[in-house]
Symmetry: C2
Subunit: 443 residues, 2 copies
């Protein structure tokens, strides 16, 4: 497919760091799965309707499969959901308003124990639809059954980096090694990174095996890290070290990686993140809803630690909405520091679109430039919450909403446009199947 | 107009307090500006298309102007935005990421000084459009020029309660008395309540005049209250009392009223709110973005103090989105108390829909029952963030979004449906006018 989107404002986000993002007025051209051109239109389109005869700037002169008049709307790189558990959609609004341990032990774990791989396939597809509505073009998905997680994303055309979920109860290190090799060759949309659930659910011999595998594969490793105060304190009681320091002492971070949540972090923890080039993936809505706390984001950014954003799973959040997360990232930082000036909108947008990609091994999806993957979204500026056009970055981060997402494109394919899904799936049937299966699981 | 919406799930919210809201499966009938019937459909509609010949339950047997198949979607009372400054849309994304005093003194006040009444008319209309997209059916609007605020809402068919904004610099008590009489007779959609900006901007003689007027009119009084720590401390320095205690000592609350923000509240302040029947209007997004703090909401609810929700103005928030506010109300309370169980979804939905109406004198808009005003919204459940249907109240509060609002009806008129506005306004022209005027104001 060759697609040309003209009459657009484009935020390529190719700057090396968050700053004043340059807006390009013109067009973006997509050939197959890649971006071919971003820049001014050499010959302006003739009025509102396209004649299909305009000379394109890249010289690919005719035969566009589709020419889209963006009507001045904004194109930017898609958001990357850098930490989620997609298959947990079945628990949305099932268990909430409970203390954390009751929630996990009485509601989440007993229900998860009943799940089949086919359930994960079904429930992951529901999550993918929601990602598309929120302009999320890739996720970093930690859940139970990589086979059906990969299949769900592949079948819908969604980009997924599967994260290992080893602990003492599910998944083994040899399985993870096999999956690493399988799912880094499976499909261009699918990749795999090493990961384990958390220090507190994974015994030392298993952690040592993971560290050895990471060294062998020269691969980064990801895990939940310092999400709750008690988890951190218990690790210190057991090992004399914080989770970050303990994992580092095992050689876990020889080739980088990252931590999800990272709320209860010491100065030394942050130094390790900085030194090892580890990514913090912050999950603000989940951290509020489970009363976990507020991470020291201002400090992290001051130290140059890269930060990405994740929704966490739909059982704890409960929605998969990057707009809500973006507002919360800055709002919680401002509250924590009692300073309305910290963590500004540019930093947050950079986390959501650019750093999210780099955090999970998708550097070719981080920005809009020729040769990069065509993972992009269109934001409708013709809505009251986007007016006036004082500052588009601030409009997105402070007043943006899923409702503004009028197109989500992944690898050059439009999967969502003006409220309609263009995926090989009967969406109403999927909703019915999900509800039917949820009722069975509740019995 | 006679409108019948059938095949609906309806949340009438007629319960006396937040609890397990009963869902009615059936239809709602609207005749002119009022609800005529809520209940089961006596004769089910014949399939997807309506023949127009179904016998209605209320006996109003034919001649519906419109019959709408809700397709199983959810109807509930509209949200009430119980504190806002609509005319400030022009400052959206203009001044952010600044310390509070810089923001006010260097950005907000100099720009506001240039505003004409016609500007307020223009910018208020932009806000009204945004309210409609978020399912907000009424606002409590504190801003500069009541005449053009009232006209903007009346012209678009929106319901506005204007709040007096007296302080030592703008608006006088005699003006407020005149407006109170004028705008409580002006139009069924418009009403007026006494109010002043805040204790720290209003000198004692003016406050005494307001208290006297409130007693004379037997009217409640509303104001910003204890939004920032310094404001509260300075009041104590000046008067020996907190803002709440000081205003109460002047007899301000003889006939009730309420406070906006109410963050830095003492035990005694809460006792006064309880005793006087005052409403707390909480503004969580603004309180985060300006780093103002988190109110003691759990305590307020335990004491039985009624709580409503407002967005505050678009200069501080920056959006006018009740879904974001609802999530933040509970999320911030959970963080503050370090307890995931506090302020559950039912409480929050009750604040947004029911208490918001009662807080601002719109008791006939608080719920869906025969004789009440037909101020209601339809939530699309056929979207991935609303699935599965484990719990509709939680789905709305924890994962709902403006995108789910597929209809907003005020006084029996549909003003917004499936992304389109049905108001006597060229929306694109309005956006252009707003941008044009904003550029002039910036010069």
């Amino acid at each position: 497919m060759k697609i040309r989107i003209y009459n657009a404002r484009i935020l390529p986000m190719t700057e090396e760091k968050a700053g004043h993002f340059q807006i390009v007025e013109g067009e973006i051209q997509i050939i197959e799965d890649k971006i071919a051109y971003v820049g001014p239109s050499e010959i302006a389109p003739s009025g509102c309707g396209s004649t299909g005869k305009e000379q394109s700037a890249s010289g690919a002169d005719d035969k566009w499969d589709r020419e889209i008049d963006a009507q001045g709307n904004l194109i930017l790189p898609g958001f990357k959901n850098a930490h989620t558990h997609s298959g947990m959609t079945f628990l949305r609004s099932y268990a909430d308003d409970l203390p954390l341990l009751d929630w996990l032990n009485k509601q989440v774990f007993p229900m998860e124990a009943k799940l089949t791989p086919e359930d994960v396939y079904l429930f992951s597809k529901l999550a993918v639809l929601e990602y598309l509505t929120s302009g999320i073009t890739a996720n970093f998905d930690m859940y139970l059954t990589p086979d059906t997680m990969a299949q769900a994303s592949k079948d819908l055309g969604f980009r997924t980096v599967i994260c290992g979920a080893v602990n003492d109860f599910v998944q083994s290190v040899p399985e993870m090694e096999k999956w690493y090799k399988t799912y880094n060759q499976f499909d261009p949309l699918i990749s795999y990174q090493l990961g384990f659930h958390a220090e507190y659910t994974t015994s030392k011999p298993v952690l040592e095996d993971i560290a050895a595998l990471a060294k062998d594969l020269k691969a980064p490793v990801y895990m939940h890290n310092s999400e709750s105060c008690s988890e951190t304190e218990q690790c210190i009681d057991r090992t004399g070290m914080t989770p970050t320091a303990y994992l580092d002492s095992l050689g876990m971070f020889a080739h980088g990686g990252g931590g999800f949540h990272c709320i209860h972090m010491t100065e030394e923890d942050l130094e390790i993140f900085k030194e090892r080039g580890l990514y913090v993936v912050t999950n603000p809505a989940s951290n509020m809803k489970l009363a976990s706390g507020i991470p020291p984001l201002t400090k992290m950014l001051q130290m140059g630690i890269p930060v990405a954003i994740g929704t966490d799973g739909p059982a704890s959040n409960n929605c998969l909405d990057m707009f809500r997360e973006m507002f919360l990232v800055t709002g919680l930082a401002k509250l924590k520091e009692k300073d309305a000036a910290v963590v500004d909108a540019k930093e947050v947008l950079y986390m959501a679109a650019v750093q999210g990609a780099r955090a999970i091994g998708l550097a070719d999806c981080d920005s809009l430039a020729p040769g990069k993957q065509a993972d992009l979204i269109m934001i409708d500026l013709h809505q009251p919450n986007m007016q006036p056009l004082n500052n588009l970055t601030k409009n997105i981060v402070y007043s943006g909403s899923k409702q503004n997402v009028v197109m989500t494109m992944i690898a050059g394919k439009i999967l969502y446009e003006k409220g309609e899904f263009y995926v090989p799936e009967d969406v109403e049937r999927l909703y019915a199947d999900v509800n039917c299966r949820v009722e069975e699981l509740k019995r």
